[in-house]
């Protein structure tokens, strides 16, 4: 290039006005969309907060620790639902995290030839595509009849443990938790698998090169290196479990009082309460439901913030 001395036809390096316009328009357009999403969230929160205001003024923070939900007396407290939400989500995580991470390990390593592995990866992700009402139906007609004898046995033999202190009555917290576990399993498995696949091949080779076995490599290098991704997936799954409505409403029994810690007893979650009562609610009850919705909103927010902190604190720098 340096040898060309022909200045008569300089390269046209100017950008046309049209491309500049498109460029600027793109920046402004995407900015506006991003802000709109934030605004939408704020508007929803404000609206819910405004509608909840009468209940907030009447019950205050006592709403969170009272387990009395009586439409007739106009007394509302959401402890039963908050407890139900936390316990069903916890049961779901307890079951789904080990299985989901196990599936992720199996599907990210070369245990299987790709021709067999790919369909399995697809099937696991397909679990996430089943509508939650179908999970609910399956729970009612298949899972609960199957679980009942187990629940009766647990109550008869381990009834001294508070968790199993009541006799099961068909639907209940444990059935809802179990179905939630199945529903969040694909989220955990898929995100954890992506996290493990993304661990640089050099780290595997380094571990193998030092004489680590496959298991040592997986547990001491790959899992820690993929930890932030896995934790992110678990938190996303927890958010899903806390907000899940249809399947839980169909399986939890919808009892608005809590009289034991038993997971075999019936209960309700914040979202099942909302789904059950909104259609016929009026007056202060609507406001109380809005308050409960705000609490759920807050719970998921706390989970997400905690997740962010955990991921930042423990994520390994790659």
């Amino acid at each position: 290039m340096a040898s060309t001395t022909d200045h008569s036809s300089p390269m046209n390096r100017k950008r046309s006005a049209a491309t500049r316009l498109i460029d600027d328009g793109f920046v402004w357009g995407t900015t506006a969309i991003a802000i709109a999403v934030g605004l939408l969230l704020a508007v929803i929160a404000l609206q819910v907060g405004e509608d909840a205001l009468p209940a907030i003024q009447k019950f205050g923070l006592g709403f969170l620790v009272s387990n009395r939900w009586s439409v007739i007396d106009g007394e509302f407290g959401a402890l039963t639902q908050i407890y139900g939400t936390l316990v069903t989500s916890f049961i779901a995580l307890l079951i789904a995290v080990p299985i989901g991470v196990g599936v992720a390990i199996f599907l990210s390593e070369d245990f299987l030839p790709p021709r067999i592995k790919q369909p399995i990866v697809f099937l696991v992700e397909l679990l996430a595509a089943i509508p939650s009402v179908v999970y609910g139906l399956w729970g009612i007609f298949v899972l609960i009849p199957f679980l009942s004898p187990i629940g009766i046995w647990l109550n008869a033999n381990l009834g001294w443990i508070p968790l199993f202190s009541t006799a099961p009555a068909g639907p209940g917290i444990y059935a809802a938790g179990l179905v939630l576990a199945i529903m969040i399993l694909p989220i955990i498995a898929a995100i954890s698998r992506d996290a493990m696949v993304a661990v640089p091949a050099e780290l595997r080779q380094a571990a193998y090169g030092l004489g680590a076995t496959r298991w040592e490599t997986i547990f001491q290098i790959l899992l820690p290196a993929g930890f932030s991704g896995i934790a992110g997936g678990v938190m996303l799954a927890l958010g899903r479990a806390m907000g899940e409505t249809m399947a839980v409403t169909m399986l939890i029994g919808n009892s608005n009082t809590i009289d034991s810690f038993s997971i075999l007893s019936q209960g309700s979650t914040v979202s099942s309460l909302l789904a059950n009562q909104f259609a016929e609610a009026g007056g202060l009850q609507v406001s109380a439901l809005m308050y409960a919705a705000l609490v759920l909103f807050g719970l998921t927010l706390v989970v997400n913030v905690l997740a962010e902190i955990v991921v930042r604190r423990f994520s390994l720098k790659l």
Binding site: E202, L203, A206, G209, L210, G211, A212, P224, A225, L316
Partner: protein, 268 residues
Amino acid sequence: MTSRLQSARQTDSVFHTEDLNIYYGNFLAVRDLSIDIAKNSITAFIGPSGCGKSTVLRCFNRLNDLIKSFHIKGKIYYHDQDLYASEIDPVEVRRQVGMVFQKPNPFPKSIYDNIAFGPRLLGYKGDMDELVEQSLKQAALWDDVKDKLKAFGTDLSGGQQQRLCIARAIAVQPDVILMDEPCSALDPISTLKIEDLLQELKEKYTIMIVTHNMQQASRASDYTAFFNVEANSKGQRTGYVVEYDRTEAIFQSPKEQATQAYVSGRFG
């Protein structure tokens, strides 16, 4: 650790290959390799890209076993033990034959834990602090990091990271260290530091190094194998050793035309 490998009789040549042919599936990657690697020496593998130097290097610690289609014909002996005999556990081989890779690859753990990783796998019972210090000193990294052993290995500079990887390899007290272009991602000063380090390390270990840098091979190695590559009628490129000799001989009086052309920079 009373393995078959350990019980192998110590011989002057650490590795000895006989008519080694390396395949990926039906593809012949390297052919007819017969080579002896002398104990406590530095052996360099040089040659143009794609001639199979790294592939050969990874045969000596059986790291190629991770690739499903990989297989060999011929023999590799480690001292007097057949390295690919069915009763040999590749994991044990890698505990004897350490490796340093092209791109520095410290674990996302602390400097201390990086070094301690290998010894912990082996169930090392001695004083870990001392082993870490010794390994870092041998890798000429101790003075740089002695005050920040808890810092992440991945936060070090590229040259320091590579010395950390060398220290990590040394910590399991291997017999041989394989190095696959260990300086290709480093600046000239870091490169010189590692070359100096190699001279010290060969007192205790046998070192085999793949390099694209011919000055490095001529400066740092005792023996040099020059690899070249030829394509067959189907366009498959197979590597082979053109000439293997003392490094001075390869660089000053090569017997083969191709070696002469390569070391004088006329191709490659």
